[in-house]
Assembly symmetry: C2
Homo-oligomer: 238 residues x 2
Amino acid sequence: LRGERRMPFGPGTLTRVIAVTSGKGGVGKSTVTAELAVALASRGLAVGLVDADVFGFSIPGILGVADAKPTQVGDMILPPVAHGVKVISIGMFVDDGTPVSWRGPLLHRTMQQFLTDVFFGDLDVLLLDLPPGTGDVAITLGQLLPNAEVVVVTTPQAAAASVAERSGLVARQTGQTVVGVVENMSGGVFGSGGGDEVARRLEVPVLARIPLSPAVAAAGDAGVPVMLGDASADPADP
Amino acid sequence: LRGERRMPFGPGTLTRVIAVTSGKGGVGKSTVTAELAVALASRGLAVGLVDADVFGFSIPGILGVADAKPTQVGDMILPPVAHGVKVISIGMFVDDGTPVSWRGPLLHRTMQQFLTDVFFGDLDVLLLDLPPGTGDVAITLGQLLPNAEVVVVTTPQAAAASVAERSGLVARQTGQTVVGVVENMSGGVFGSGGGDEVARRLEVPVLARIPLSPAVAAAGDAGVPVMLGDASADPADP
Ligand SMILES: Nc1ncnc2c1ncn2[C@@H]1O[C@H](COP(=O)(O)OP(=O)(O)O)[C@@H](O)[C@H]1O
Ligand SMILES: Nc1ncnc2c1ncn2[C@@H]1O[C@H](COP(=O)(O)OP(=O)(O)O)[C@@H](O)[C@H]1O
């Protein structure tokens, strides 16, 4: 019966679906995703954010809603709103301190439920924070959202760049379109070149370079996004 | 038949087994593990390093042996040696570009094989680079190596600290001993306090504070360890 409800973000949707991926953890993928969501919402767009980073769900903390819970209305789930963004995260459904050990079918069903049973309303943009690397979640979402545009986040370092490319390639394998690269933590101790390297190898543009910045780091901990200015608002700007 | 060979690092071993974990990716766990291994080997100790970070196997690159392969001799596997350290990594057994999708039983068997069929010889220290967070690998290794001493790596940030604590707690659940915390990327844009916070919550000492340093970042990319001086050699110094 529940299968009757259509998933509103598939082919034919008016919502722009943007999935943010990376090759390894710690490059700031969740930070970039959250800041982009807030930047777009601040311009008046209706924005949803699915935190699909099921093992490292940091999105709620970054947006300052670490303890927020969705509201159940009938068999619909209403997502909490943070800084104008409707957010859903696996973190809202697990007890803190319980390691999440999700495997294949449960993961797929959970993602499907996030996209089908969570009521986002009509969205201009749906952002997804993917887990770093290539794995079940990326493949599942590739199947559920073949029309998604994929943004790859990397740091300037060569090691991050080489695994970032792989994530872009896997996204392409599921038929998604890689639209560009965001180089994060630029201009500091992590050197330079990684963003350009990934962009070159994937044959896509560098959409933005976000500097290594104490303000960004502190904002993440405080749960108050800095909205990195137009540098990050532009990349996927409709 | 193969099960006849005993795993040499279980209870009663003369080898000191040190497992390095973290709460999330990108805190420098692999870097810290590699540098510690090289530092100990440089003092004349017989050191082995098992890269158990099966999804993000960066150890070979950090040690400058990204293309090194083990040697098969009969049914024994001889690990390559880098900077005096005998290293084994899943990266040595997969084609570059092939995403590794490992699940439960295969993961367990692979870890068991690394610890049983790889010939390390008599080691003074066996280091293990665990995946970030809590998952199948951590649980498997907890079962295979209950006598391991666990070091938790975090950055100074609050967000990293809170998930780092969880990894320490899970390690304890499998009967392992958490011996201390290493705070990495200290003294730069990532603020301060994370290492002390994890140490306090786990009731263990801060073993070392490693500064955010362009030399460390560049060394990782070049595959030439800087051997962060005695700051990192001391933590688990036997
Ligand atoms: N541009 C930046 N400058 C400084 N710190 C950053 C920047 N981007 C992210 N961070 C910090 O780095 C850490 C990792 O970021 P996170 O978004 O959690 O990475 P990922 O999602 O890739 O694992 C966080 O603590 C975050 O606050
Ligand atoms: N103290 C440090 N200062 C500067 N860069 C560092 C430091 N420690 C690690 N790095 C860099 O940060 C990145 C993440 O480190 P890595 O060891 O791969 O993390 P993890 O194993 O936790 O995912 C690497 O590119 C590494 O070179």
